[in-house]
Symmetry: C2
Subunit: 433 residues, 2 copies
């Protein structure tokens, strides 16, 4: 192992066999953590070639159970987001593309820190369960084209162990390691094709468009080497997506969007990602055709109905979907007002995400309990003109003491300027093979 | 700790308090190995500033017992070699400078791998012990100006633990880490001033003169920040020093040298290092004056008598010093002959060192038992002209099977060329503050 560390450190390319011996030894415990962390730091500095990244991904993918989706008819297209604030696109996209006939067999994760998780949002719907057997999962997809469940505990254990080590050794933010971590999980879940939403900006993993492009190219390269079509869409996370942040609040906004009444940015992103999914899923020939199909499914109510069908199939109370006001609420709310007059020039997504965690909407640690009703509803977004003391947002929580903690982050989230900020597009770039 | 790893990784300078928390936490076990090894790899890439190196050295030095030599009169001058093959200079220098009046209170180490250790060489003298109490050690120095003992087990435990981790994580060969490792030990041993012999070439830690200069500057810088005078002499280790490699064989050559009959290169190096020690020890004003003093001590027999006095004081049999032929011998010897005719253009010190280990003169692992009589006596050195089948060296071992193993390394040690190699100086450069 020392020789492999030094080989990487000295800038040489490792073979697949060498990566295999490192990962297998790490997972089995034969290679100690302290050697792997030194190796990871060398990788941080040296990076990995596209071959190395694909090999590492393949080895990690095979470290646990591989989900076999071959019993599901059609091209299975998965969607992945690198994590945003107020990002409820899965709640919308899953029923939307399922309604179009693309099978959605989705395994999702929970939220930690400032970004939420799809499973938590879904569990804001009373009765809905994300625990199901493999058979139930596959039956649901074959029957109604959609199922969303929690990730198998034995999914890519190598990545789990490696990520935990990276997290405590300052080796998280290397693009080749991020790419292989994401791709190993997506590929283990059995997707035939993947649309990846790479967020850029405050509160996102990628801080610059250049980094996002590098990550996109790497993931497309891994997919290409492993025979899977990958499309990457680079999107802005300069402010939260939509107006709501918090589990039940986001479900409500998802329902509005499925009915055609959602916020512009969220609707635009769903049509962009969804249209790529329809093309990859061979349900539409071009992106334009796909957008037309998706809009029709929204206007006809088919997308909303598919969402209800999906909620019902997983045990959720569909009355809550018809009457979203019955979704979890909070005892307390507080209006957050502007401290000055001018244009909102910054609305830091990271700060808003952290404020929502403080309100109880997210997890500070893995064992935190979520307050499903808690969160934030933005009244204004970047570019809006506000007067002093005008409402900027409404905060919700079941614990009154949380407001004081959250307001600190709200205060730092906003920048009010005299000059109107220039409009920045949400969809920055789409990268295909 | 993650923040400190990332701070270093991102190229920022750490404060003394930050280094202190890392080292203290590592020694106490609060900071796990895997974080320290990632940190060390970041240091490997980023290096350390002179302040950082001095701070790390100071913190490591204070991690264990500090040897107090204040009860010894005079300026205590220590000598350190980065490790060479056939390097018996301590056996000569210690009595030589002690005879000149410089107090020699030396703590030495044992050999491991291809370089030998002073303690092992001394123990080739029957009866001689390197175990003594602090009082005996100080009494001997005050009485006869010389004592050599083993290092205290509690000497710089932080360096011991850190070096063990570096050794298995590919983070040994960083010059700032090497400098602080060496200096923390030398300073903990209580020296007022230090002469450092930095070897360059095959079989040496430093492969280029540039690296050796960088190491020299760093060690001088650390000394300067901690109020100790340091002189670094960069010397060539392109071939073994002197003609003998192996414990008893080296004692014999040291005795010859103390009597004025030693090999030119070894004598030259001893006069160079010894003269700096005399100047630092305030026994001579200039290096030239110091060389005159040292030569006189050799010619008068005073240096040799001091060696005998020293051996007697530590329980050794002085008959062996008067009759070196009685020193440990071997049952077997074998002549190693030249395979071709020409000039010896290379005589790889690393290979010769490894051959001597195979003969039994050194340790392959920490628990190997040393064959004190085993080793090599070179008959020819670089620049000598040899005929085919002419004797190049004599190998000695008490285990006949060892010859086969050693000969493989002997074969790769020699390069015979038609052209006479240009003469390369032994003393490459002397660097002072």
């Amino acid at each position: 192992m020392v020789e492999l560390i030094i080989k990487k450190r000295n800038g040489f390319e490792l073979t697949k066999e060498e990566f295999s011996s490192i990962i297998d030894g790490f997972v089995s415990g034969e290679i100690p953590d302290y050697q792997v962390s030194a190796f990871l730091m060398a990788v941080y500095y040296e990076g990995m070639t596209s071959d190395e990244t694909a090999n590492l991904t393949d080895i990690m993918m095979r470290s646990g159970e591989l989900i076999d989706l071959s019993e599901i008819e059609g091209v299975k297209v998965d969607k992945h987001s690198t994590g945003g604030v107020g990002d409820k696109t899965t709640l919308i996209l899953a029923p939307l593309v399922a309604a179009a006939g693309v099978p959605v067999a989705k395994m999702s994760g929970r939220g930690l820190g400032h970004t939420g998780g799809t499973l938590d949002k879904m569990e804001a719907i009373k009765g809905l369960s994300v625990d199901m057997t493999r058979e139930e999962f596959i039956d649901n997809v074959n029957r109604i084209k959609i199922a969303v469940c929690g990730q198998n505990a034995n999914l890519v254990p190598a990545d789990k162990k490696l990520y935990a080590l990276r997290d405590v050794t300052g080796t998280v933010d290397n693009i080749s390691l991020i790419a292989s971590s994401i791709m190993s999980k997506k590929l283990a879940c059995g997707a035939d094709a993947i649309v990846i939403d790479i967020k850029v900006g405050h509160g996102a993993f990628m801080k610059t468009v250049e980094d996002a492009e590098e990550l996109a190219e790497m993931m497309i390269g891994i997919g290409s080497k492993m025979g899977r079509n990958v499309i990457a869409v680079i999107t802005s996370m300069s402010e939260p997506l939509g107006f709501t942040i918090g589990n039940a609040l986001e479900v409500k906004e998802a329902i509005d969007t499925l009915k055609g009444n959602g916020p512009d940015d969220l609707t635009e992103l769903c049509l962009e990602l969804g249209s790529h999914m329809l093309v990859l899923g061979e349900v539409a020939k071009t992106q334009t055709e796909a957008v037309v199909i998706l809009k029709k499914l929204i206007d006809s109510g088919a997308a909303f109905n598919k969402f209800k069908e999906f909620v019902k199939a997983q045990g959720g109370d569909t009355n809550l979907i018809d009457q979203p006001d019955l979704l979890p609420d909070t005892k307390f709310s507080e209006i957050y007002k502007s401290k000055s007059e001018g244009y909102i020039s910054e609305l830091n997504a990271l700060d808003i995400g952290l404020a929502s965690v403080k309100l109880g909407a997210g997890r500070e640690t893995k064992t935190s309990v979520i307050d499903y009703g808690a969160g934030i509803v933005l009244q204004k977004k970047i570019g809006d003109y506000v007067k002093k003391d005008e409402d900027l947002a409404i905060l919700y929580s079941n614990n009154f003491a949380n407001f004081t903690k959250a307001i600190k982050f709200m205060d730092s989230a906003y920048t009010i300027s005299e000059e109107k900020p220039s409009h920045k597009p949400l969809i920055i770039k789409t990268i295909t093979r």
